[in-house]
């Protein structure tokens, strides 16, 4: 039970009273980190008794597969409707607690850095969506940027405002955000992502009422905590259908925040099909100079609204004159894959791979690298359930996370159409 007990028993008997200064377990901080992780315990032996080094790659892959599976299982009912047009408010807690240095250099800096990455990733995955930034400081919530579709302007505003003080107030933040999000059209999905450093919230009134208000106006609130699980945050997320997670370290935090980039399943009440009027403006030639409506400056390039002929600099946006939603067709196309995700690949058991009764390919269909480790032992590999092609782990991750198309299926479809036209 307590394996140190025997050892201590001997020493303890005589030092009845003066044991104060004995510093038996005074581990230094660096030692402790090793003692806690116990990395030696994950060493494995292979069949011949030799130590096998820890296979980080396999570990990562296992993690990734787990995530993929959980994603797939939540999408189990084949076609889940997803909100592609999202209006997301990111609430950044800049209260006293954000200056703590358990994340290096400080929580605040880590949050800012990862929010930047998140904003880019978010617009990459959701070209039709918009983001707004809100900060909490001194118990007051301030709007940093209005809802908008330009990553650069958000990042610029965020980086300029990094100082923290005072208490945090979730209620004020939710009230403010709720006020913004209530105005957006009904086809848009209202979301709040709170990055919470503080462990307490000083509210002017009853936060439960505010939570009910959010729930009623269908705002989905998610919270990522930086220090520990807080009851009220969990409650907010449960009530409004959001995700609650707490970051262990910086890389975990990044992982958690990026989980919010792909669109969440649509809230049931919104799941009515709705037609939205959109404009697809043409890009003007670089040398045609005209005054744009967003910056009120004369510049080249930009896009012209097909309805009122006004000029805007960036897409997607809303036309300032006629209020038409302006997008480009690649934006729509990029959003498309969320609706038709490729099925997770099946893992191929090493036994099957090594058994040679059916002829199995020895190389990855994607990158053409050999699927066998040096020494002819099979490494981990996966198989697409549709086209039955084999892929290595790296390609698996690449296909699911970035490509969103299975090379095997695509080439076979291509092959089929070609062959059928030849006949």
């Amino acid at each position: 039970m307590n394996n140190g007990e025997g050892r201590r028993l001997a020493g303890q008997a005589e030092e009845e009273d003066d044991e104060d200064d004995v510093d038996e377990c005074g581990l230094e901080a660096w030692e402790r980190a090793y003692a806690d992780e116990r990395s030696w315990e994950s060493l494995q032996e292979d069949e011949s008794g030799m130590l096998r080094s820890i296979d980080n790659k396999a570990l990562y892959h296992a993690q990734y597969r787990r995530r993929l599976r959980s994603l797939a299982s939540s999408n189990a009912a084949s076609r889940i409707q997803k909100g592609l047009i999202r209006y997301l408010c990111i609430v950044i807690d800049l209260s006293r607690a954000a200056s703590e240095t358990d994340f290096r250099p400080s929580r605040m800096a880590v949050v800012a850095k990862n929010v930047e990455a998140f904003i880019r990733e978010f617009f990459d995955q959701n070209p039709l969506s918009q983001i707004g930034l809100v900060t909490i400081k001194d118990g007051v919530a301030n709007c940093l940027t209005d809802l908008g579709g330009s990553p650069e302007s958000h990042i610029k505003a965020l980086m300029g405002k990094l100082e923290c003080s005072g208490d945090s107030s979730l209620q004020n933040a939710l009230d403010l955000v709720c006020g913004y999000l209530e105005q957006i059209p009904s086809y848009g999905h209202r979301e709040v992502l709170i990055l919470n450093s503080a462990l307490s919230t000083c509210d002017p009134g009853d936060i439960m009422e505010t939570i009910q208000k959010c729930k009623k106006s269908k705002v989905r609130c998610s919270v990522i905590g930086l220090s520990a699980e807080i009851f009220i945050c969990k409650h907010i997320c449960q009530e409004t259908g959001g995700l609650y997670s707490v970051a262990v370290d910086e890389s975990h935090f990044k992982e958690l925040i990026l989980e919010h980039a792909p669109p969440p399943p649509a809230i049931a009440e919104f799941a009515i099909a709705n037609l939205i009027k959109m404009g697809f403006p043409q890009r003007a030639a670089e040398n045609v100079i005209s005054i744009c409506l967003c910056h009120k400056e004369a510049r080249g390039g930009g896009y012209t609204c097909p309805r009122c002929k006004a000029r805007v600099c960036e897409l997607p946006t809303e036309c300032r004159i006629c209020g038409l939603t302006l997008v480009s067709s690649p934006h729509l196309a990029r959003s498309y894959h969320h609706l038709f995700p490729i099925a997770p690949f099946d893992e191929v058991t090493p036994v099957r791979l090594s058994s040679s009764q059916h002829k199995l390919p020895k190389s990855c269909f994607g990158c053409q690298q050999s699927l066998l480790n040096p020494g002819n032992r099979p490494s981990l590999s996966v198989e697409c359930p549709r086209c039955k092609q084999f892929f290595c782990i790296d390609c698996d991750i690449y296909i699911h996370e970035s490509l969103h198309n299975c090379p095997g299926c695509e080439s076979f479809r291509h092959f089929k159409t070609v062959s059928s036209s030849e006949e």
Binding site: E5, E16, E19, D20, C25, R32, F231, I232
Partner: protein
């Protein structure tokens, strides 16, 4: 689910069972088979209650030839209700599987205050007045009077119950107090008397400790139980104290003054009777001549009955001649009260054995030991005869008679201590005469002797070998179980130093050291910054808490703490504490965060749960030793040493550590929960102290956490809280299973299960 343990089919109302519950049942079954007593320790939050209930009821079901009765004792009404609710679930499950044959009758029994449905009686504020209010309406002479004169008020519920006679029974089923009240209201029967009647017939009875341990109450309620009973004492870590309190009496000046008043009134009553109805007094005299054992002809329903802790001779012998006459008895009592008054005048602390005390009573007041012994019964007989209904008014004289009887009966295991003032306030004259019982086994002995199996169980019974010695019995099974967890959800730490590396302790010579006070303050302040929601702090005593909070206030630490969390303090006032607790919970709910300052051995430490976010961290400031200069404690220690060969130090440490374990155990109430425990005193790192903590805490106390300073503890807390906030797999991962399904149990024999657990 349904599974076999040896020859018993156990019906368990849930789909899965924890492995420790299973082995708990196995041990319990062995004790039942052996018809002996047992002692079982299992951590809170692992479902002790349901394991107990389902095994015992299933055992009864599988052996219809030997009907066992289950008597389940709880400490509080709240626990009683929880137990009955579990039982209800279990009962439904069993009936579903076995059909109506499995029907049992289970009742909860509580005081009139909790069961009465008569609005006129219920309006009284405390328990004693409700009791008296009830007697005023239901005593036999009142009812007899009412028959002649309809304007005398009676209780319609009781009347209806009486009229229904033997037809007034509960149909089989499980009745919580709520159900009993509802049933009583619907039928118009008095739920209290109905429940008391049904105790004789029920298969399962749930009631409070007092009904078995306190000789005064036990005589009324539990006297007719058969030997084939399984008696369970739940949360029994303090059972020795309950036993001792049941037999200890404390007499103050107010008591004696009240007793004099009571005597005066009784004298008036006697005079009145003499004038109007002397025959009644004469009848009583006759009865007493014939002996107390024949009091069967005392009116049956006005149960003032025998005291099981008293030796048999008192029941068989006739009452001594000198107190048979009512006015003589009063004179004896008056002399006794006068004598006690004289003793209270003393200037010094006095300590005497019962034998010496009785001798001096005989000398100075002329009352011999035998007379003293009969006081209790004689008084009740007299009160019956005088038709006194407002019994709450006569508590003082009852106390005096209790005292007299106990002193007259027991020559060993008690001592009489007279203190002219409280030692903490030597200026205030407040003389107290205490008859303190030192031997917990006296009160519980009749229970062990009378019943086939007595189960003593709690979350903290360590060290488990001490209880049999304290209570003087031989358990056939005594086992301590650990908790199987899917993750390390408790994190005990021993903090020995502040950030400045100076030791911290509440040792007497160190406790008011400014450095220690400041280090304790810094500890709390740092923890407040890293722990979310609720934190509970336990101090060793009220006075120490006052002192330390004052000095934190002066040094500004308290203000800094308040920036992070609100601070609430337990006081000796129950209403204030309830209010503080209520607000504490609200502060935790709304995310503001709060700290609760409480006292080990206080009401909060014993009965209030700080589960989930209401207690993420509990800090035990110091080791909660008893006040070692107390005369009573010293006398008890001496007795324990002489009689049971338990060393003073051992007992004190045992007692302090069980209190500490009890305090920190408040934060964990289920396996899904998590919490940290900080033992902030350098003495905890010593082996003799630490090893007395219960196994389930020790098994999580890693060597690296045994000698921490504040900064290291903060670091560990941070890491722990982050780890616990991650989602986890309930069923347990890897080779260690923490939830067993029916197949799992069928698959493994007993042997393999034990291998897996230990």
């Amino acid at each position: 689910m349904k599974f076999e343990i040896e020859d018993v089919t156990v019906y368990f109302p849930y789909d899965n069972i924890y492995p420790e519950q299973y082995s708990y049942m196995v041990e319990l079954k062995r004790a039942l088979d052996a018809r002996g007593h047992c002692l079982l320790e299992m951590p809170t939050g692992t479902g002790k209650t349901i394991a107990l209930l389902s095994l015992i009821t299933s055992y009864v079901l599988s052996k219809p030839q030997s009907p066992l009765k289950l008597v389940y004792c709880t400490r509080t009404v709240h626990e009683m209700e929880k137990t009955l609710a579990e039982l209800k679930k279990l009962h439904d499950y069993q009936v579903k599987h076995l059909g109506p044959a499995a029907r049992i009758l289970a009742v909860g029994l509580s005081s009139r205050k909790n069961l009465c449905v008569n609005p006129r009686v219920l309006s009284a504020e405390n328990r004693d007045s409700v009791d008296a209010g009830c007697r005023k309406l239901t005593a036999s002479w009142v009812r007899a009077l009412a028959e002649k004169n309809p304007s005398v008020p009676t209780c319609e519920f009781f009347e209806d119950y009486e009229r229904a006679g033997s037809g007034a029974v509960l149909p089989p089923g499980v009745y919580t107090l709520q159900d009993l009240r509802a049933f009583g209201k619907q039928k118009g029967w008095c739920p209290y008397y109905l429940a008391r009647h049904m105790v004789q017939l029920a298969n399962v009875i749930v009631y409070s400790y007092q009904y078995l341990l306190d000789p005064k109450v036990a005589g009324i309620i539990s006297k007719e139980m058969q030997r084939e009973c399984v008696v369970v004492f739940d949360e029994a870590h303090n059972i020795d104290n309950v036993c001792i309190e049941a037999l200890s009496v404390c007499v103050r000046r107010q008591t004696l003054e009240g007793a004099t008043r009571n005597l005066h009134r009784m004298e008036q009553e006697i005079d009145r009777f003499k004038a109007t109805d002397e025959s009644r007094l004469r009848a009583e005299y006759q009865r007493l001549v014939e002996g107390l054992a024949l009091r069967g002809d005392l009116r049956v329903n006005d149960t003032w009955l025998a005291n099981p802790a008293l030796p048999d001779d008192i029941l068989k012998e006739a009452v001594p001649g000198n107190i048979r006459r009512a006015d003589f008895f009063l004179r004896v009592l008056r002399r006794f009260v006068q004598y006690l008054k004289g003793r209270l005048e003393t200037e010094n602390v006095e300590k005497e054995s019962p034998v010496a005390f009785v001798a001096s009573v005989t000398n100075q007041a002329g009352i011999d030991q035998k007379t003293l012994k009969f006081c209790y019964d004689r008084l009740h007989s007299l009160m019956m005869t005088l038709e006194i209904t407002d019994t709450d008014e006569f508590l003082h004289i009852q106390t005096i008679c209790d005292f007299a009887t106990l002193v007259g009966t027991y020559a060993r295991g008690f001592s009489i201590i007279i203190e002219p003032f409280d030692e903490r306030m030597p200026d205030v004259q407040d003389p107290v005469l205490q008859l303190s019982c030192h031997d917990a086994s006296l009160a519980i002995k009749p229970v062990f002797d009378r019943f086939q199996t007595v189960v003593i169980t709690s979350g903290t019974l360590s060290p488990i070998d001490l209880y049999p010695r304290l209570l003087n019995f031989n358990p056939v099974v005594s086992r301590s179980f650990t908790m199987s967890l899917t993750r390390d959800c408790i994190c005990p730490m021993v903090l020995t130093r502040g950030s400045d590396q100076l030791p911290v302790s509440t040792k007497f010579d160190m406790r008011s050291d400014l450095g220690v006070v400041r280090n304790y303050g810094r500890l709390l302040l740092e923890m407040v910054c890293v722990v979310p929601d609720g934190i509970v702090c336990f101090f060793v005593s009220y006075s120490y808490m006052d002192e330390i909070v004052n000095s934190w206030n002066e040094s500004g630490i308290l203000k800094e703490i308040m920036q992070h969390k609100l601070v609430f303090i337990e006081t000796q006032d129950v209403v204030e504490t309830t209010l503080a607790l209520d607000n504490y919970r609200r502060a935790c709910d709304c995310g503001r965060g709060a700290v609760f300052f409480s006292v080990a051995r206080g009401k909060v430490a014993e009965g209030i749960d700080f589960d989930r976010h209401y207690g993420r961290l509990v800090i035990m400031f110091g080791v909660p030793f008893q006040y070692t200069l107390s005369k009573i404690l010293l006398a008890r220690l001496e007795y324990l040493r002489d009689t049971f060969q338990i060393k003073e130090g051992d007992f004190l440490t045992f007692d302090a550590l069980r209190q500490a374990a009890q305090c920190v155990g408040r934060v964990i109430r289920s396996k899904a929960d998590y919490g940290m425990m900080i033992f902030a005193d350098k003495r905890y790192s010593r082996h003799d102290k630490r090893s007395k903590l219960p196994g389930w805490i020790l098994s999580h106390l890693r060597d690296a956490h045994l000698n921490l300073s504040t900064d290291m503890a903060v670091y560990i807390a941070r890491e722990f809280l982050r780890k616990m906030a991650q989602p986890y797999d309930k069923a347990g991962s890897g080779g260690k299973k923490t939830l067993l399904s029916q197949e799992d149990i069928e698959k493994m024999g007993d042997g393999s299960l034990n291998d897996m657990l230990y």
